[in-house]
């Protein structure tokens, strides 16, 4: 029993009887679970607010990347767009089409690279595979397709702009994947 004026709250954590002491850690565990639950609710709120009111900036306008002849067939070139730090890659496919994707794997943001001749983009970290024509996930842990940019070719110069699915014409040369 407390005889002095000090805070004797700690005594609840070190009870005299063994039976009571078995409940201390479970009580704390339950409170901790409640704290975690509050944290998760706050996290969901953050996601909801971020997604609805602060969407990521869209890329405005067209951005010059390089000249067509600077990139050999099957080659890749990494670039960044002015005013952003996101790394992108431009790929010249074997059928002479150009594709541009974000270079960050959608799994844990490792840098992805194009495997020349295979039509696939590979992530070395956990062997994620993406379709180089569409950015779709073919294998491995990545949960989402690679974010894509639209490539515009003007004569000899290659530009990229924000991706809109409707200007993605189906490609007649594309072999079906099997």
């Amino acid at each position: 029993m407390a005889t002095d004026k000090k805070d004797n709250h700690w005594k609840e954590d070190f009870p005299v009887y063994q039976l009571e002491s078995t409940q201390v850690s479970r009580r704390d565990f339950a409170k901790f679970l409640c704290l975690v639950s509050g944290g998760l609710a706050v996290g969901s709120g953050y996601v909801a607010i971020k997604a609805n009111f602060f969407p990521p900036d869209k890329i405005v306008g067209e951005h010059f990347v390089c000249k067509k002849h600077e990139l050999p067939v099957g080659g890749t070139r990494s670039f960044v767009i002015n005013g952003s730090t996101i790394p992108y890659i431009l790929i010249r496919m074997e059928n002479d089409e150009f594709r541009a994707y974000e270079q960050k794997c959608t799994h844990l943001s490792c840098a992805v690279f194009y495997k020349p001749g295979s039509g696939k983009i590979e992530c070395p970290c956990h062997n994620g595979l993406f379709d180089a024509f569409t950015g779709e996930v073919l294998a491995g842990p990545p949960p989402r397709p690679l974010p894509r940019l639209t490539v515009v070719i003007k004569g000899e110069e290659v530009y990229v702009k924000d991706f809109k699915p409707d200007n993605d014409k189906p490609d007649p040369n594309r072999q079906s994947r099997s």
């Binding site: 029993m1 407390a2 004797n8 005594k11 609840e12 009870p15 039976l19 009571e20 409940q23 201390v24 479970r26 009580r27 565990f29 339950a30 409170k31 679970l33 409640c34 975690v36 639950s37 509050g38 998760l40 609710a41 996290g43 969901s44 709120g45 996601v47 909801a48 971020k50 997604a51 609805n52 969407p55 959608t106 949960p143 989402r144």
Partner: protein
């Protein structure tokens, strides 16, 4: 006058043990559902399906409030008379 808290504190240890177990099980269940909600909301938001984010936030908050109110039934152990 005796209240809920006192009555519970005098309960048999078997009873408080069961209660504690039930409490923790429900809390773990709530937390797992919340993890799933957050995971789904985040993945969909990154895929630009933002519609699911708010409903999942509301569901998650409700689960938290349930868990928080649920703590009232947590056996407090014998009260030290100050």
């Amino acid at each position: 006058m005796s209240n809920f808290r006192e009555a519970q504190n005098q309960a048999h240890p078997n009873k408080t043990n069961t209660l504690m177990l039930a409490l923790i099980m429900i809390l773990i269940l709530n937390v797992s559902i919340q993890v799933w909600l957050l995971y789904t909301a985040l993945n969909n938001a990154l895929e630009k399906n933002t519609d699911i984010a708010f409903p999942s936030f509301i569901a998650s908050s409700i689960l938290f409030l349930i868990g928080f109110g649920w703590l009232y039934f947590l056996p407090s152990g014998p009260r030290v008379t100050k």
